[in-house]
Every structure is written in C-alpha cells, then in structure tokens.
C-alpha cells in the first residue's frame, strides 16, 4: 500500500480547529487507500514560550536540557492530533521521535539523523492507524532526547518518507507553493507546479521561506519527491523533484530576495597569503556565517575585501574582525547594514548565454545600483540598496517574463 508522509508546521496546528482540519485531511488520504504518517511541529509560538521559560532560570540554558524541554512542544501537538483523529472515529497513534525510531548523534540543539528504525511505524500503519510523529526531535544511543535545529520538522518528514519507502513527502504550510517571486512584492508572481531540488535550494536559502534547505538536500540525495502545498486551501502546490524538464521551459525559475543582509568591507588589505584566512577563520570561530565574498583586483599589493553577513550578525562580526584588521595591518573596516540581496535562479541558466547581462540591464533600467555581484551555476545574485528591493524584484520578474508561465 502506498505510504504518504505529511508535515504540518506550527501555524497549521495552532489551535483546536486547525488541528481538526489536519485530522480531516489525514482521514481523507487514508480513505483514498494510502497509509498516512503525519509529522507535526509545535503549536504556534509554543517553542518560543518554552525558550523564554528556560531563560528565566538561566541566561545560557544547558543544551541537553533545553532540547529535552523543547521536545515537549511537538509531543503536545502530536497527541492532540491523535486525540482529534480518534474522536473522529479514525485509528491513530502518536509517537515521539524516540518511539518513531529516529536515532541521532548527540550534538544537542542541531542533531543530525543517523538512521531511522521504521518497524514501529510500519506495525502501526499495518494495523490501519494514522501515525502521528513529533517532528524536530530524535534520541541518541544513550537514550537522551535531541532536537534537530531549524527546519527540523521538515527534515524529520523527509527522512521518514525515505526510511518508510513513501511515494512522496508532503510539506503543508501557510503558503500554497513556491512562487516565481514573493507575491507580496510582485502581484503577478506565479506559483510553480514543479521545481528541481537545486533550484529550490537556491530559492529557499535566498529567502523564499517555504521550507528548510536541509530537508530539500536530504530529498535530493535520496530522490524523494517533496510536495509543498497549503494546509488550508485545495491548491495543488509545487512538486520539488529531480525529473524537472530543463529544456522546454523558461530557464529562470524565480526571483529570490533577502533583506537580512549587511556588508563589511576591509579596506587596504595587504595582498599576501594568509590574510583572507585570518579574517574568515575568526568569523567561523565566532559561529558567524559569511555569505558573499568579493575581493577586488589587487593594485600595488593592496586590495579591498568585501563580504556579507546576516544583518543580525553584523555587530558581532565587526567586533570579531577589529583585532584581525589591526594584526594584518589593513587600513580600516567599514560596514553597511541597509542592503538586500536579489537573485535570479534557474538550473538552465548555466548553459545559456545572456542571463547575467539581462539581469544587470533590467536593474539599470529600473535605476538600481549594484553594490556586489556573485554568481553560481544556477543563480546570479546582486547586492543592492535595501530600499530598492521591491523595485528590483518586480523589474526582474518582468524582464525574465516569469508572469507568462512555462
């Protein structure tokens, strides 16, 4: 019998009515002849509330204990969903990550799944039950509870779908799929029926907050098709899979943007070996992710080095590199936090000419200055003034004719 794994985020199970809605949909899927596994996140803002409780007893709560504390949020939503299902006459059982057989390493707050023992889930499914699994959590070989970090429930769902041999993994959320751009910025933005894993990764990591990159990566490795759709409506959603036709369609799939961008420029850097590593080692040690890095051509042995970080990390980053700037004898270090990133994404672009030129022209014609440029195989990214973000996304969406369909 075909198995389907569905995941619902916190806003989709935020109250009793929403939980009942999820329950009804699970029963419908079962009536269609499927074996149904539902993965849930904690209700609404539960996790934030638990973190606040922990902070009331400690400024830096111990991670092993915090994981165990946070894991209760998903138990609450998954038991409530099982209760709702049983009240509707369905057979159901809720399982913690541990009961569902999700084994992880012991790196608390960001554990990795080592393997899944699917026997209990299979047994419950074979008894005709709709199986509810608490997302975001697992258990170590020492029987300690871990959490998987950001996007954990998406990862749980995809990993379970793989381990159970499901046909698809369905991620239900408060948007109805992946769009060619953020519909709040571009009214003409169009929902994509399908998208490739890598394209989705670029769109997701660039700020189209539909699902977590980590889960998409996992889907890609194991070739698990992932459907992203709305928890509420009946729209068909977007299917993320590997077999997307790359030839017969618009090579640009979408325009991503990200407002959480700050730029740091180290001015007057002596151009010699070890300098870049000194700067980026210190940032890595402080756990600051660096995004775009650009180094200008060196003139007379002196160069400028620019990189971007999340705006929320800027203060910390400046503090960290100040002593490094001195030690490498650079001139100074300046920053700008009012920036945004816009990207054109599409896996067909690398084999076709002219996309970069088209992007720069569209921005130029919209009167938008480009601060930094960076490219990968499937995307072209420009860093621009934050205030111009909407204009830029709209101009690019139009220039690449994304409103016109495949």
């Amino acid at each position: 019998m075909a198995i389907v794994v569905r995941k619902y985020g916190g806003s989709s199970v935020a109250d009793a009515d929403k939980i009942k809605n999820v329950a009804r949909r699970a029963i419908e899927a079962q009536e269609e002849g499927k074996q149904v596994v539902v993965v849930v996140s904690a209700m609404g803002k539960t996790t934030d509330g638990l973190v606040k409780l922990a902070q009331q007893v400690s400024d830096e709560p111990d991670e092993r204990e915090l994981d165990f504390l946070l894991s209760t949020g998903e138990i609450v939503s998954c038991t409530l969903l099982a209760i709702a299902l049983k009240a509707m006459g369905a057979k159901s059982v809720s399982l913690s990550g541990a009961q569902a057989g999700i084994k992880t390493d012991a790196v608390h707050s960001r554990a990795r799944i080592l393997g899944i023992d699917p026997r209990r889930i299979h047994k419950e499914l074979d008894r005709g039950k709709i199986v509810i699994v608490a997302g975001f959590q697992g258990i170590t070989d020492k029987m300690d509870i871990t959490t998987l970090g950001r996007g954990g429930s998406d990862t749980t769902a995809v990993a379970l779908a793989i381990a159970l041999g499901a046909d698809t993994c369905e991620i239900y959320t408060d948007v109805d799929g992946v769009y060619t751009a953020d519909p709040r910025l571009v009214p003409e933005a169009r929902k994509l029926d399908e998208i490739g894993y890598e394209e989705m990764l670029e769109l997701a990591s660039l700020g189209s907050k539909v699902m977590h990159s980590r889960a998409v990566e996992l889907g890609e490795v194991y070739k698990m098709p992932i459907l992203v759709a709305s928890s509420f409506g009946n729209s068909p959603g977007t299917l993320i899979h590997g077999g997307v036709s790359m030839e017969a369609r618009n090579k640009v799939r979408g325009i991503a943007h990200d407002l959480n961008v700050a730029k740091v420029t180290v001015v007057g850097v002596p151009d010699k070996p070890g300098v870049a590593s000194a700067i980026f080692d210190s940032l890595a040690k402080a756990n600051i992710s660096v995004d775009t890095i650009v180094q200008n051509a060196s003139i007379k042995g002196i160069t400028d080095l620019t990189f971007t970080v999340a705006r929320t990390d800027l203060k910390k980053a400046m503090k960290v590199i100040e002593p490094v700037v001195k030690s490498i004898k650079a001139k100074e270090c300046v920053s700008d936090s009012k920036l945004a990133k816009v990207s054109v994404v599409g896996s067909g672009m690398q084999t076709a000419a002219g996309y970069a030129a088209m992007m720069f022209r569209a921005l130029y014609e919209a009167g938008i200055n480009i601060e930094l440029i960076t490219t990968s195989e499937i995307k072209i990214t420009c860093i621009i003034d934050e205030a111009k973000t909407s204009d830029a996304v709209r101009a690019l969406h139009k220039a690449f004719e994304l409103d016109k369909g495949v």
Copy 2:
C-alpha cells in the same frame, strides 16, 4: 553514599524563583554528602491547561494519547530544574519516567508501577550529578508513555526511594507537616513530629490533603520512611514511619475532616439476600466509590440502608440506583448533600477503652447531632451536619488534648 529522594509538587515549582529555590536546596543536600534525586510534578496549573487543550479537540480524549500529552508537563518542570542547577554550577541531568527506568502496566491514566530499573540513575549519581526525575509517569513494555493517576508524583518518589535503596523519601509541599487537625479550623492544632503509616493513611484519606494514600501504602509495604515538610521554610516536618512508639504517647494522633460527603438512604428495603449486592454492584459498575455503609436492624423484614459517597458523585449515584430501588421493591431513596465527616485517628485506640464514648460526649456537649457512626481499628468517624464541621473538629481537638503535645 546515602541517597535521598525528594519530591516537589506543582506549587513548589510554579515559577522560576521557586525552581531556583528547589535547586539551591538540592545543592545543599549534595554538599552535606548525599546523593540527591529530585522528583517533580508539573508546574502550577500546567496539567489542567493540557487537559483543557485536549478537551478542545475531543469531549472524551483517548487515554493513551492524553497520558502522553500530560507527561510533557513534568518534563518541562524537570528540565527547567536541571537547567537551573547547571546554571548554579552543579552537575545535573533530567530524566523522563522512561529514562529513569520506571516500568508500568498499560492501564492508561492510572498505571501501576511494575518495577524500576535504577541503573541509569545510579550511573548519573555516581558521576556526581543531581538527578531530576519527571514524576507521575512511566513507560510500558511496548514503549508507550503512561501516567500514574492522582498522587502519581508522590508514588514515583516513594517507589524510586525503594528501588534506589534510599535512606528516606522526602515529600516537600506547601504545608510544613501533618497536623493534629486542620490549622485553618483549629488554631491550636499542633504539627506531629512523627506518625505511623496507618495513621497517616487514615488522616490522608479523610481529607488532610498532605500526600496521597497510594504513596503512603507503598512506603508501608517496603518500610520506607517518608518525611513530609515545607518546600519553603526550614521546619523539620513530620516523619511517617513504622517505628512510632505507640505506648508512651497520646493514643489519638489527629482529627480529620472531609466536607465532600453526601448521604443516600434507601428506605424500606426488603431484608433478604442479594439486596445489598444489587445496590453496590450497580454503583461499582458506574465507578462510584462508596464510603461508609450502615444498615439498621431489620424490623418486620424491612430495613433502611444508608451509605455515603463523594458529594461530587451524588447526582450520578442517585441516577444509577433509581432503577435498582424499583427492582428490589424498596420504598424510596432520599439523599442529603450537606454533610461532613469528622474522625478521630490513632493506632493506640483499639486497645484502650472509652475513646468512642469520649468522642460522642464531646460532640453532644458542643450541640452537634451525629447522623451516622462508623469505626475501624484506628479511627472513629461520625457523619454530621456540614455547618458544624469547625465546631466539631475544635471540640474533639480539645477533648482529646491534642494541643498539649505527646
């Protein structure tokens, strides 16, 4: 090294400050050279809140799921306590009932402990950790989470103390021990330094809500001394144990009272075999606990049968026995819900004469009418008008000289 098991109820861990207080006391005990295990209930009204959530999705939440849901309340308080301890520099680890090795039967919502595998706790204690255990819960051999029902955390604590070979089990609560009567009714009521298990059972089940009978029974069977004391003050509390000197002290230990009493009288019952069983079978099937039962001497083959139930069960009880009253051809069935129970408790009473007479005289002199009388080996109970409860408890406390000490 001596092991001590301490239990704190919901009001003792209701907020961050109270949790820190419990943490400080655990560290003190460890500094005195003890290995410390702390059992906690859910914070404040958490459990009620979770029950309400479940009732929003179902009028009759499935018990297996409800148990799993409720078990999260204790995980929250025990992880917060461990976080507080670690923030204070102590070593600590929090464990769920399952992790602590507490195995139960599969009777959800009122599971019984089948056994405890104490290896993980011993291992953590031997590493110098203060071990925090979630009360009220366990796990079945099928890896499902159960709860132990009312008084569950007390039971967890006593059972752990027994399994770990602890010297004592300490129950911390919002009263500072067991009193000769309710201090709110009798200002002269005196805290007892020690009390026998059976005396405690009579006082507890009769309404001195200090700790749950089930835990006291467990303590009695395994001869585990139980100290009841305040979470906040430093008063020495009351030690419940088996070696209480019975000879050299006042044979009456305390006056208990219970306001949750209703009386049902079946009038004109034909006095023949099977009649009582018909009535009480039907009540048992409806899960209604019957307390006192009194049958008057039969006159001309007709008798009256009176029993008491919890006031909260009266409506249900009347509904259940109405058809029985008809089928056994009794005359009618009347009830009175404005009653209370007062009891004189003391294990020395059975071997000494005159206690019953003294009780009845004290009530008579206080102008209080006795509706029903019932006696056991260690107590004498009278059912009286609810409005006279305070007068009765005060009169008995004085008559038996309980204000005068041992």
